[in-house]
């Protein structure tokens, strides 16, 4: 019964997406990946439609390629977590495309409207993107390579004003508390660990799947372990999930218990989990 509800929810999401301006399609999947959509998740398949705000996680040794109708494409390497959005879209004045961790290769389509491409990751934005760009994000470091185009790196740390422009072929290494280091060539360890599929220019396959209706694989309820990296992400990105998963947190006791157990990592959930700790004005009255 619950599976049917999830399936209906996913189907409704796809119908809604059909009306959306830009629907993404998984056009290549080597390995396995999971898509979190609202309060459910499912296994990715080639041909599956993806919606803005879908959270995508690839597993070890996985390569996944997502394409838009306008020939913008996103490739994900192994063990990557991404919040999907078209690179020209914005959400709350920040880029809609957000890389939490892992490998991402972005191919920007030429825009007739002049809309600028951008993406974000922990503590940084990349704006004015053109051509092809590769980013590797780990807990402490960002490595950015302007393979074919240009990009502007912007530090989002509080009070930071720094920005660096990457031209074609340039490589930038940044990290929390580190000053950005621009190099004329990618570092050897970056090249040696680059997912092999990132080395090729792959053909656009959107049209192959555009008329197919691929049903999501193994739909199921969202598990806390899958949501956790996003719940504990940097504040600017994780706040949206309080709204998105508030109802689940009140109805799913296991989810709620896990949230409560790790509350210091995401204190904004306290108002949802323990409303009794706040007075009518929203002021915290218990601080234990």
């Amino acid at each position: 019964m619950f599976s049917c509800v999830i399936a209906l929810g996913l189907f409704a999401g796809i119908r809604t997406a059909g009306a959306a301006k830009l629907t993404a399609i998984v056009t290549i999947l080597q390995g396995s990946a999971t898509v979190i959509r609202a309060v459910s998740e499912f296994g990715a398949l080639e041909g599956v439609r993806l919606l803005p705000d879908d959270l995508i996680r690839t597993d070890k040794d996985t390569f996944l390629r997502i394409e838009y109708e306008d020939e913008t494409w996103i490739e994900l390497g192994p063990e990557t977590q991404l919040e999907l959005g078209h690179p020209t879209d914005k959400r709350a004045n920040r880029p809609a495309l957000y890389l939490l961790t892992g490998w991402l290769k972005l191919g920007c389509a030429k825009s007739d409207s002049g809309a600028k491409n951008s993406l974000a990751s922990t503590g940084m934005d990349l704006s004015d993107l053109s051509g092809t760009l590769i980013i590797r994000t780990t807990d402490s470091t960002h490595m950015i390579f302007a393979e074919q185009g240009t990009a502007r790196w912007i530090d989002r740390a509080p009070h930071a004003t720094g920005s660096v422009t990457l031209n074609r072929g340039e490589f930038l290494v940044t990290g929390e508390g580190k000053s950005p280091k621009l190099q004329s060539r990618p570092a050897p360890d970056f090249v040696s660990s680059l997912p092999f599929a990132f080395r090729d220019s792959l053909p656009i396959r959107y049209a192959l799947f555009a008329q197919r209706n691929v049903v999501a694989k193994d739909p199921r309820a969202l598990a806390y372990s899958d949501a956790e990296p996003w719940i504990d992400a940097e504040p600017s990105i994780r706040r949206q999930f309080v709204v998105l998963w508030r109802r689940k947190a009140t109805e799913d006791q296991a989810f709620r218990a896990s949230l409560d157990r790790n509350l210091p990592l995401h204190p904004e959930w306290r108002r949802v989990l323990h409303p009794e700790d706040y007075d009518a004005d929203g002021t915290l009255i218990r601080n234990d």
Binding site: T132, E147, G169, S184, R185, V191, R199, S201
Partner: protein, 290 residues
């Protein structure tokens, strides 16, 4: 001199003239065929090399462009592709060679050796144009080379071969900054050289010549033997018998038996004439005696 000996002397003379003329003509034809075959093999090999270069430029290189940003792949270089493909052929045909000989190559294996450098310089200073064919001796035997100049007519070549700064960094990583730079547009920087062994074709031609001439001699010998036999049976033997009969008649043996000739030809006519002569003589003798 006996008739058979005369005949054989004439026959041998004609036989020797025939063998000599046939030998000369067939030798010339077979040698020319061998030369043409070697040249054709070289041209075909050159055509394969050109086709591989074109295929690499049009179809392989675009596919590898992204990979080339990270590491230099010589497989995308037309010269490398052609050399590799034709080197594979050497597994089966070890004395066939293809080389893109350059005076200042990026890949050291393409550096022109002395005789190759001579060919390149002939193209560079205008002594040779278009194609150059020649034969040279090698430790493995005689070899025919077929060469075409490599001239920079595509400015895309200069991306990798003009200056170290302009060249792709992964290429510098692989081959270093010392060689393969300073090329200019419209400059002949090397030559495509195909080497094909001539010995095989000429050995084949020689073998064909020996076989042909041996067959010809055998045919002449059989024909000569047959003609001797025929001559002996048809002329020598009956004429000898007729001669013996004539001798006996002349010695007065008018009762000697006639020579029996089965054939219906001049020899039989001669035998019959001798028989009539003998009868006439016998009758004349009887008339004289009576």
């Amino acid at each position: 001199m006996k008739l058979l000996l005369k005949f054989n002397l004439v026959f041998f003379l004609l036989f020797a003239l025939g063998i000599g003329a046939s030998g000369y003509i067939s030798w010339q034809l077979l040698q020319q065929d061998a030369r043409d075959e070697v040249a054709e093999n070289a041209r075909q090999m050159m055509s394969v090399a050109i086709a591989v270069r074109s295929y690499t430029t049009k179809q392989i290189k675009p596919l590898l462009e992204t990979q080339m940003i990270y590491s230099f792949l010589p497989q995308s270089v037309p010269a490398f592709a052609a050399t590799e493909v034709l080197t594979e052929l050497r597994n089966k045909y070890p004395n066939y060679q293809y080389k893109e000989a350059l005076l200042n190559p990026t890949n050291p294996r393409d550096r022109a050796v002395d005789w190759e450098a001579d060919i390149v310089n002939q193209f560079r200073n205008g002594q040779a144009k278009g194609e150059l064919l020649g034969v040279r001796s090698t430790p493995a035997g005689s070899s025919q080379y077929f060469a075409r100049p490599l001239t920079i007519t595509d400015s895309a070549c200069l991306v990798c071969h003009s200056t170290v700064d302009a060249a792709p960094k992964p290429m510098i990583d692989k081959y270093g900054p010392a060689n393969g730079f300073g090329w200019n547009f419209n400059e002949t920087v090397g030559a495509q050289i195909v080497s094909v062994p001539t010995d095989i074709a000429f050995e084949r031609a020689n073998k064909a010549f020996v076989t042909f001439m041996g067959s010809l001699v055998a045919v002449f010998a059989v024909v000569g033997l047959f003609l001797n036999l025929l001559l002996w049976r048809m002329f020598v033997r009956p004429v000898t018998k007729i001669s013996a009969l004539a001798d006996r008649i002349s010695l007065g043996e008018l009762e000697a038996p006639d020579v029996q000739v089965r054939s219906r030809d001049e020899i039989r006519t001669l035998a019959e004439s001798l028989a009539r002569l003998r009868k006439s003589m016998a009758q004349a003798m009887k008339m004289l005696e009576s």
